[in-house]
């Protein structure tokens, strides 16, 4: 018997609201449909009424995990519009923070994968080690989540010798821990059993559905914006694009762990070759009429900002495409014919970061199978009604002991 279940918008496996409507046949998913918009904040509209400098901090708040990705993507776009050549030392520091952010995001993902698979110890250990890189970011930028390091023409904070030494010292620890996790994930039978062969996405489907980032690379397509369309100083830094051809969740995990190791090498290179000089150059406030398509390889995949300027100090249009949106179509393809138990893993494997605008709840009546769609206002009215009818006795309200 086939039946329909709505997973989300509130669900323990989803850290942000999104709804997956599944058609189930026993434990097997026959069809899935995504419903977005629970978290749409109208940032694109808001950006049109803000100056370029104000938008710097607005774009940073698109996402909490890849805050620096969005900010850098925007900053690089605006720098191109301003025809500004950023300071070289500033670019090196910017790239450094990019890679540190990738490290913390991938370690976070490893933990989330462990948690979704019910491997709590793995989750605790990876997040404990993630604190090391969080401390580095805290130490060089001042804050843990929103680094606010970018400004037009460079970065806002310099790195001194002491910080350099501390980062290099911590890298050794991170490297050994990452290798340990790679070995662990590949030898722990219960964890491997959950990852291997789950959420297959063939190379052709991945390309056709425009997947990005580790999801695409795990299907054997070596697409990485850092190589394809180098920004900042990636054209000077030696690194490899990591791919896997197993096309499953395990492949995505392996790609991420390999990228971690590449990131450590990049960080080491950047710190050893950090040029002297100023960290920023002065930027104009107004921007000529032009447009730019800025690409950035965020930890989750290709991040895209399209900025159109109109000669004033405010952008005409800022279009943001977060990597997660590009991966949704592929997620649906991956979910089909999987087990219910695999949903959190498959969904987590794209490292979802949901930023999307509607409030709605679908209720399936258990007795007659009718489905109702409730808007947010109706739902609130229902809740109020319920609590108005409940006749609280005094003894229920009082502390029971």
């Amino acid at each position: 018997m086939e039946y329909k279940v709505a997973l989300g918008p509130q669900h323990p496996a989803l850290h942000e609201p999104i709804s997956i409507r599944m058609t189930l046949d026993g434990e097997i998913i026959r069809d899935a449909d995504l419903k977005l918009g629970y978290n749409h904040r109208g940032i694109e509209k808001l950006a049109e009424s803000r100056t370029y400098i104000q938008n710097l901090y607005l774009t940073e708040r698109i996402c909490g995990i890849c805050s620096f990705s969005h900010q850098t993507c925007y900053t690089q776009g605006v720098e191109k519009l301003m025809e500004l050549v950023p300071a070289r030392r500033g670019l090196y520091i910017r790239t450094l923070v990019c890679e540190l952010e990738r490290v913390h995001s991938h370690l976070l993902w490893l933990g989330v994968a462990g948690q979704e698979a019910g491997f709590e110890s793995f989750f605790m250990y990876t997040w404990r080690d993630r604190e090391v890189v969080m401390d580095i970011l805290d130490w060089i930028s001042g804050n843990r989540v929103h680094y606010s390091m970018n400004t037009f023409g460079g970065v806002r904070r310099d790195i001194d010798e002491l910080q350099k030494k501390k980062i290099l010292d911590s890298l050794g620890l991170l490297k050994s821990r990452t290798e340990y996790y790679l070995n662990l994930a590949a030898s722990e039978p219960t964890f491997l059993g959950r990852l291997a062969g789950v959420g297959k996405l063939s190379k052709e489907t991945a390309i056709a559905l425009c997947a990005v980032g580790p999801t695409l690379r795990a299907s054997g397509v070596p697409m990485d914006v850092r190589k394809d369309d180098p920004y900042a100083v990636y054209d000077e830094v030696p690194f490899e694009v990591c791919t896997a051809d197993s096309c499953d969740v395990l492949g995505r995990a392996v790609v991420r762990v390999k990228e971690l190791i590449q990131s450590y090498l990049i960080i080491e290179f950047l710190l050893k070759n950090l040029p002297e000089g100023p960290i920023k150059v002065k930027a104009p406030r107004k921007v000529k009429e032009n447009e730019v398509y800025s690409r950035y390889e965020a930890p989750r995949g290709e991040n895209v900002h399209y900025i159109k300027s109109n000669g004033s100090d405010k952008p005409e249009r800022l279009k943001v495409r977060a990597p997660t949106l590009a991966n949704y179509a592929a997620t649906i393809a991956m979910l089909k014919n999987g087990f219910i138990a695999d949903i959190p893993l498959i969904f987590a494997a794209i490292d979802p970061c949901i930023c999307c605008a509607e409030r709605l709840v679908q209720l399936d009546s258990a007795r007659n199978g009718e489905s109702r769609v409730l808007t947010f206002s109706q739902l609130r009215a229902m809740a109020n009604q319920r609590y108005k009818n409940v006749n609280f006795k005094k003894k229920d309200i009082a502390w029971p002991f």
Binding site: L36, V304, A326
Partner: protein, 156 residues
Amino acid sequence: MNPETIVEKIHSDIKDKVQEVALTAPRRIQVKVGREHLNAVLTYLKEQFGYTHLGTISGVDLGENFEVVYHLSDGVATVNVRILTPRSDPKIPSVCSVIPGAILYERELQDMFGLVVENIPDPRPLLLADDWPAGEYPLRKDWVFDRPAEIIPGGA
């Protein structure tokens, strides 16, 4: 293959369909086409150069017209294919037959700009609420959001 040769090839092969083609910045190619030729140009780009990755579709409200930009990327360059569609008749063709991954972006355009995407496989609203009033499209320039006055609970 480098960006210059792509520009030249586009120029020589499908000159009749393309209104404008130029290399505006390093690795950025601008192509302007009429909306009736959009699918043909995208098919040509896919078959000739292997442009299968659609970064996103950006809509811009230019007042009289809507500009819709399709950003296609590969390892060599990004091709921004641009079409114009008048406000009075905001129709654009669906590109899902060429690039299946375009569906979410097209649904977003329908929501936000009120463009009518013809032959779209799945026309349901994507982002806006089910009780969102019809005929209001948030990203159009004439749609203004009146920010309500901020009320801080707990009196003045």
